[in-house]
């Protein structure tokens, strides 16, 4: 739908005529149909209004002739009524629709991660060189016992473990992948991440879109999700996964459901979600069998019964009362609590929800960890921090704040070529990531994609090892919840207290 009444385009597509080889590749590469073709002059003719600045054409232009500029059309300066708000009003005045967007919150809220600094050893306790000394990155997610009971081993004279341990997920690096459904992302994205998860010894997460048959070989490295719409959920799906995640909320859209429009439900998606082709896939806002902590417990144990007592993860969005909610979730029997911060990504969310609902992940991890420690139930569930993890530094800081592991979504997509243009909800992703159009999805080669993601996570894992070495510890376990190794810079006292860290200088 072209909105032309008042709205100036966001970007300008600038083509250097001297450099243009007139090959027409830009026309073919663009998923948004920005480029027309002038038959007489044999030149591409851009429609600026359709450009999302995804740089597909820029990347593939053999002449290097294209650049995308911001449309710097000046509006009268106003710190209150920004051009973005004015344009949104025009758009809504024309259509009466709810604004949709993709990816994570892009508003300039305080980025707490960027105000946290890690410690390092100097003189008194030596740092460790991770290139020459072993660094333990292995992480186990799941319920740990309140007490470990051991008994004398009659034969060896040693001790043997009496306590029966709950099943754990074994991660070779404290980085896993967040839930992104097949339907919102393409099957080649799922294939890439599944292969990467297997190679890395970590886990991918199906999101609420079912498990495509092609991913079954990787099922030992896949966490299957059970969300309110129950799409693709049956007993064999539950048994396929290494663990099951109950999705209560998502950082990008706390408190609201999901809605995969009928246009995106092609044959393969429909088979995987187990719904008819072309109908809307509506995920209700709540699970209608969960109106209380007791009800959550009921579903957790139903899933345990159905899976032979695999670990159950519960994913919640970080909202104001997250610590109390997390306490309830852990008491309900969750083995893993997955905290999704307000910067977490989405395939589609109303803009108002994405940009204005929820709280930062950093605050949530710190308060949840503290609350569970105060109540002496921290051992009962592992904490996974997600929603705005952009680098290994964020991973290190989140773990120091109390997380057991981190999950990445957007970062993994960026490794696959995503340029974070925030148009996931349109289904026209030129990089073949957030689309089901076959001519676009085939652009992503899963083998290549897997190697990109593996490289990224390996690089981050090495960086984490460097951080640990500098801190003078040789296991990620030693950083976990070690807030003494963090300092805040430029944070107010209240925030420091909530995070449980000191300011730099103390």
């Amino acid at each position: 739908m072209a909105l032309t009444t008042f709205i100036p385009s966001e970007f300008r597509v600038v083509i250097d005529k001297d450099a243009c080889l007139q090959c027409g590749r830009c026309v073919r590469q663009c998923g948004w149909n920005v480029y027309g073709w002038d038959e007489d002059e044999r030149r591409p003719v851009p429609d600026h209004s359709k450009c999302s600045a995804c740089h597909r054409c820029v990347t593939y232009c053999p002449g290097g002739a294209i650049s995308i500029k911001k449309n710097e059309l000046a509006f009268k300066q106003s710190d209150s009524m920004s051009p973005d708000l004015i344009k949104a009003i025009w758009k809504q005045a024309e259509t009466g629709g709810v604004q949709l967007t993709g990816m994570g919150n892009d508003k300039p809220y305080l980025r707490i991660f960027d105000h946290l600094l890690l410690d390092a050893c100097q003189v008194t306790n030596p740092s460790i060189d991770p290139l020459r000394e072993p660094m333990e990155m292995r992480t186990f997610l799941g319920r740990k016992p309140d007490l470990v009971e051991v008994a004398a081993d009659s034969e060896g004279g040693g001790l043997r473990l009496v306590t029966e341990l709950d099943r754990q997920l074994q991660l070779e690096t404290p980085i896993m992948f967040g839930g992104m459904s097949y339907g919102s992302v393409s099957l080649n994205v799922h294939r890439s991440i599944a292969m990467a998860a297997e190679e890395l010894g970590t886990f991918m997460n199906t999101g609420e879109g079912g498990l495509h048959a092609d991913l079954e070989p990787y099922q030992d490295h896949i966490i299957v999700q059970c969300a309110s719409g129950r799409f693709g959920v049956d007993s064999s799906y539950l048994q396929a996964g290494a663990a099951v995640e109950i999705k209560i909320g998502q950082g990008a859209k706390p408190g609201i459901g999901g809605h995969l429009p009928g246009e995106k439900i092609d044959y393969e998606v429909s088979v995987t979600r187990m719904i008819p082709q072309g109908t809307d896939a509506l995920s209700p806002a709540p699970h209608h069998d969960i109106y209380s902590i007791e009800d959550l417990r009921q579903l957790i144990y139903a899933l345990k019964e159905a899976t032979g007592y695999k670990p159950i993860s519960v994913k919640i969005a970080c909202v104001h009362n997250v610590a109390a909610i997390a306490s309830g979730v852990v008491r309900a029997g969750a083995d893993i609590i997955y905290l999704d911060g307000f910067r977490g990504g989405t395939g589609a969310s109303p803009t108002i929800i994405r940009d204005h609902v929820g709280i930062p992940l950093e605050i949530a991890v710190a308060t949840v960890d503290q609350r569970l420690r105060d109540e002496a139930i921290r051992n009962r569930a592992s904490i996974v921090a997600a929603g705005g993890i952009r680098s290994s530094a964020d991973v290190a800081k989140a773990i120091a704040l109390g997380a057991d592991a981190c999950a990445i979504g957007t970062a993994a997509l960026v490794a696959l070529g995503c340029h974070v243009c925030q148009k996931c909800h349109t289904g026209s992703c030129s990089w073949g990531i957030c689309t089901q159009r076959p001519e676009l999805t085939r652009r992503l080669d899963p083998e290549w994609g897997a190697s990109q993601v593996v490289n990224l996570v390996n690089a981050w894992t090495h960086e984490l090892a460097e951080v640990l070495g500098a801190l003078g510890v040789n296991a990620i376990e030693s950083l976990r919840g070690s807030r003494e190794r963090l300092r805040g810079l430029g944070l107010d006292k209240m925030t420091l207290d909530i995070l449980g860290i000191k300011p730099a200088g103390l």
Binding site: L100, P145, L147, A151, L159, G262, D289, E305
Partner: protein, 298 residues
């Protein structure tokens, strides 16, 4: 033998040394009796009697986890007919089971999430059932010879649930059909509000037998419904409907379907279908498969 209420601490033994882990205990300890040793060696098992392909398990005082383990064991040993006696509120009976051809009869009142994620099994309840019957069930048959609670058939994708009596709120919510599987819920009595909410496929039939014939269903029937169909015996007033559905007289195909469903239900319930079919039905269907298709702007 201890019951699970007694087991608020871990078993103690002189040969066992306790090594505390984690932080010092402060605040409420949050003891959860349900977790502690349920299903572990030492938990009470129900007495079993076997004859040929039949087995009976006495569920009296048996914790649900143990009971369900025993049920699976009997089926895996080859029982095709299993009777569970003295059932009082044990949850998750039939949950996740995929044994077409096996019949499980429950004497007593099973607990929540009966037949959840079930994928082929016949379950007969000779009493009332509680909430969440056939939650996300994929195939199989559940017959409840009494009333059933809320959210019967939540997200159910196939198979049938026959309830002799009344059902609670939000029954058939988000039921969906796919391929050859089309879920069916038949309620002999009355259904409360929000019947078939978000319904995305399948069939719900409410017969309204006994009680107030003029109001077989509550309010907000079919709110958010976007596929599937409901047949309600008697009348439904306009104000009882959700705003996404329409009401109509059943056409010939509908009437044939109603006849088939009621006949099968009556056979299962050992009732005479004739008096049921004497009264007319109304059909409730969604007016669009995309109720929210025009809600958004990109």
């Amino acid at each position: 033998m201890t019951t699970y209420e007694d087991r608020t601490t871990s078993p103690d033994s002189s040969a066992v040394r306790k090594v505390p882990t984690g932080p010092a205990r402060r605040g409420p300890s949050g003891i959860e009796p349900a977790r502690i040793t349920a299903g572990q060696p030492g938990a009470k098992r129900g007495a079993v009697t076997r004859r040929g392909g039949r087995a009976r398990i006495d569920g009296k005082g048996v914790y649900y986890k143990t009971l369900n383990e025993q049920l699976r064991e009997e089926i895996q040993r080859g029982a095709t007919k299993v009777v569970l006696d003295n059932i009082i509120g044990q949850r998750y009976i039939g949950t996740g089971l995929a044994y077409p051809g096996v019949t499980v009869t429950i004497n007593g009142v099973p607990g929540n999430d009966l037949a959840a994620f079930m994928n082929g099994l016949t379950l007969i309840v000779n009493d009332n059932a509680q909430d969440g019957v056939a939650n996300t069930m994929n195939s199989g048959l559940v017959i409840v010879n009494g009333n059933a609670g809320d959210v019967v058939g939540y997200g159910m994708r196939g198979g049938s649930v026959y309830v002799r009596g009344d059902v609670g709120y939000r029954v058939g919510i988000h039921m969906k059909a796919f391929g050859d599987s089309r879920p069916l819920v038949v309620v002999g009595g009355h259904a409360r509000d929000f019947l078939g909410e978000y319904m995305a496929g399948g069939e719900i039939v409410v017969l309204g037998l006994g009680g107030d014939k003029s109001r077989a269903v509550g309010s907000y029937v079919g709110t958010g419904m976007h596929a599937g169909v409901m047949y309600i015996r008697g009348t439904v007033a306009e104000h009882q409907l959700g705003k996404e559905v329409r009401i109509a007289e059943p056409d010939e195909a509908d009437r044939a379907r109603i006849l088939a469903i009621v006949t099968d239900y009556s056979r299962a319930m050992r009732m005479d279908p004739e008096p049921i079919l004497e009264q007319s039905f109304v059909k409730i269907y969604p007016y669009t498969s995309r109720p929210y298709g025009r809600l958004y702007v990109y």
